[in-house]
């Protein structure tokens, strides 16, 4: 990991020499085993850049905040699609962005890692040993098997090396995901329940939703200037109010079902929505359901079409006859 971190710092320094205005990467967090988005605006700020298995954030959406600056961004395999999506939908001017790819050996579940490491041990180095991460701490060396410590989304990952990048750092990472894992296994389990049981499953989760909108704010597919759920200035959109601000089960379900529908075919599967949810609603179960259905019904969408819902085939499956 040290190697990639150093490369990142060097690349950033070089890009600033070439006129870069903003470098979006990661720095170490304020608590152990945590990283966070980092924004270097000048040459002197590049030394804080890191890359380690806690860099789970998808940084792509931050690009939208710098519409006029020459910006570089660090992407993992699962983030690259987000840049592509944002470019495709004209949120970004690709020509002013340098996309820097990093090979990803999978991201670790922080809670599990902390439980494994000695409480007061300070992490000094992390090395990726293909099927395990080796942690050097002030209390010694610890080997964390990936199978046991990776985030669930990494265990079904098939794209841990980013594509479409301008610059790829380091060597291509070996596959992380376990082969033969069905990404839709949980979706299928839920689908197999009878309707009342499905309703109960979702009601319990949706009842928890705070409508803090973290899932939306972090989502690279939720790129509307103003979300339809809170068009605040009256008169805009002729005053249609889609959703009550009241936090009730019907409204929460409405919000999540429609959000999932709005990102249908556009979700890049980065899983950020699920990560940021403070009340642990497994939101990817909604996105994955749609992804599965789209795959089953319509297959891949041609690259020149904005999304699966912006096209059709006369022979599409008809479940309404």
């Amino acid at each position: 990991m040290k190697e990639i971190t150093e490369m990142l710092q060097q690349v950033a320094a070089r890009l600033f020499n070439e006129g870069l205005e903003m470098f979006i990467g990661y720095e170490s967090g304020s608590v152990p085993a945590k990283a966070r988005p980092y924004f270097a605006a000048v040459q002197g700020e590049t030394a804080a850049l890191v890359f380690n298995p806690f860099c789970e954030h998808n940084l792509a959406k931050y690009l939208v905040r710098f519409p006029n600056a020459k910006t570089a961004v660090v992407v993992k395999g699962c983030d690259a699609g987000a840049v592509e999506r944002l470019v495709k939908e004209r949120n970004l001017d690709r020509t002013r962005i340098t996309v820097i790819g990093v090979p990803c050996g999978g991201m670790l579940a922080r809670e599990r890692v902390l439980a494994e490491l000695p409480q007061d041990g300070k992490i000094t180095a992390i090395t990726d040993r293909r099927d395990a991460f080796v942690f050097q701490t002030s209390k010694g060396e610890h080997v964390l098997e990936k199978k046991a410590f990776l985030l669930a989304k990494c265990l079904i990952c098939t794209q841990n090396n980013p594509t479409g990048v301008d610059l790829m750092l380091g060597k291509e990472a070996p596959p992380v995901g376990e082969t033969g894992k069905d990404p839709y296994a949980r979706v299928k389990e839920i689908s197999a329940l009878d309707p009342p049981a499905r309703a109960a499953f979702w009601d319990r989760l949706m009842d928890r939703c705070l409508r803090c909108y973290a899932c939306r704010e972090v989502c690279p597919a939720c790129s509307c200037t103003e979300c339809c759920f809170e068009q605040a200035v009256p008169g805009w959109q002729q005053g249609a109010i889609w959703l009550s601000k009241a936090v009730t089960l019907p409204d929460n379900l409405h919000y999540h079902v429609i959000r999932a529908f709005h990102v249908a075919g556009r979700c890049t599967g980065c899983g950020e929505c699920e990560r940021v949810c403070p009340v642990r609603i497994p939101l990817m179960l909604l996105n994955r359901k749609l992804a599965g259905d789209i795959d089953e019904l319509y297959g891949p969408t041609p690259p020149d079409v904005p999304s699966v819902l912006c096209t059709y085939a006369t022979g599409d499956r008809d479940e309404f006859t």
Binding site: S191, R198, A199, A200, H254, I258, F261, K289, F320
Partner: protein, 151 residues
């Protein structure tokens, strides 16, 4: 399908509960089909309330959810048969959107009978009437939709 005595849900006042269906019908085919049912004096249950839209592709899934939130027991969307859209391609988009949406609704726990999409042409008054009958029967079996009703 018939409703057994024991299945009849009653309201607090003791009257037999009747499901409420909101129907979005496209102006050119399905609304005309419902008109034809009228012209042909084809009887069907009085549970359906129709909203006219120019094309089934105007039906935002959020309208469907809205209806459930406001206490509808079932929602029907009807449009021209694929290929016959007055606006050439509108119902092809409807088909994609609402196929995914219906599957999603069912996935989050709605019974399939709650949300129905049908193709009803201007000449299919009978089919419209039958669709309503079927829906009413289905909904009577399910009982009132209380889950997302804010009423």
């Amino acid at each position: 399908m018939s409703v057994n005595e024991s299945d009849v849900v009653t309201t607090a006042e003791g009257a037999a509960w009747e499901p409420k269906i909101v129907a979005f019908l496209c102006n050119w085919c399905s609304y005309a089909g419902a008109d034809l049912a009228g012209v042909s004096r084809i009887k069907y249950p009085a549970n359906v309330r129709i909203i006219r839209v120019p094309c089934s592709s105007r039906v935002n899934p959020q309208f469907v959810f809205r209806a459930f939130e406001r206490g509808a027991d079932g929602v029907l969307v009807a449009g021209c048969h694929p290929g016959d859209c007055h606006y050439v391609t509108g119902n092809y988009y409807t088909r994609r959107r609402l196929t995914l949406f219906k599957r999603l609704l069912e996935y989050v726990g709605f019974e399939p009978e709650r949300f129905i999409v049908r193709w009803v042409s201007a000449s299919e008054g009978q089919r419209f009437a039958e669709t309503v009958k079927e829906m009413v029967d289905g909904l009577k079996h399910l009982g009132p939709q209380k889950r997302v009703s804010r009423v």
